[in-house]
Symmetry: none
Subunit: 205 residues, 2 copies
Amino acid sequence: MDKAGDAGTKAGAQRIARFLQEKGRMPSYSEIALACGFKSKNSAFKLARKLEDLGLLARDAKGRLIPKAIKGENQLKAGALRMLGTVEAGFPSPAEEELSDVLSLDEMLITNRQATFMLKVSGDSMCGAGILPGDMVLVEKGRQPANGDIVVAEVDGQWTMKGFKKEKGSKDVWLLPANPKFKPIKPKSELRIAGVVIAVIRKYK
Amino acid sequence: MDKAGDAGTKAGAQRIARFLQEKGRMPSYSEIALACGFKSKNSAFKLARKLEDLGLLARDAKGRLIPKAIKGENQLKAGALRMLGTVEAGFPSPAEEELSDVLSLDEMLITNRQATFMLKVSGDSMCGAGILPGDMVLVEKGRQPANGDIVVAEVDGQWTMKGFKKEKGSKDVWLLPANPKFKPIKPKSELRIAGVVIAVIRKYK
DNA sequence: CTTGACTGTGAACGAACGTTCACCGTATAA
DNA sequence: TTATACGGTGAACGTTCGTTCACAGTCAAG
């Protein structure tokens, strides 16, 4: 009845991913069959083997399914979140509840775990850039800042978080707040860049 | 020996956590017994029941173990981040590299994984609240919104994200943008709250 | 038409599963 | 001392697991 085997395979992978996300463990073949509407768990077995050939999931020595750990787009990972479409804030558009992607926050935000740490923001000098007091920022150490990046730096003996700007053809570096109440800083003596802000996280609840 | 029993339980939890981290799935009772040096899987069964009583892990309807975030000493999650102090953005203050907490983003942000999903924001009607176009928002479904919460709602047939306000002593509900360019919305016919925004995530890199 | 290549069904196998029971030490409490 | 609570052993049960086999239906290429 199914016309395209490809679509069926993909739908199966999504069902498995959803099971993993909801129950926190990989399903058994019977559960895959149940979730996919198969009447025989053997169909689930074949589906799993196909997904394994495609590199989308892996299996134990004992045949049990394990979530694939390698990075990639379509892989099944524990602790995944359902990623839906966009919501228009201003000019509303439908936000359908169709699973468009599955991912984990850690995986999405952090590339270099050892060099990444988190800071809590106080003060409002960056509120124009959408960074409010109480927000958390993920900072990656040792990264070379580019113009427009937001950096955490020690300037003239004090720590601050500002926008980074290096003038072309000059060694001069400016640290720009995103709030008209504050003025740009031009480091006099020393400037030590602690890291580049790679993400902002605000928790309401 | 009370203390020895406690230590054994804790060591067992750590072994289970290590198994989960290495294999990506929860062990069976036989595997727990193997990992803990038990000769009988029944010992593993009793250990699991004790851990369940302590709230350190959970089990299926079918008895299978499912991962649960073990807090405190037994770090179950792989993606732990270093949490540092605060950085003054505006009136700089020292941000020492002293580890004040260790946590995982998923664990920190998501309490009810099944009901949580992620949306990408477009439009700037909430930019006054620090939610910019391109940001991600975590939305928890089925949560009762309180005044001041930011909700994703279907109002008069269209989806939008706005601040929630319910007037005291009245059934009237207002949806407030955080941008003077937009006007508050008072739903006429229907208002369906899809969920409450529990976190905002902005990724720069 | 026939011939494959797929996809799903259904039954079957041994192995591993979760769970329960009875039993054996040892250590603590009375 | 006796009693009792606890951690571990070992065997047993019914269930579910992963896996394999043979078979039926569908579609495209020959």
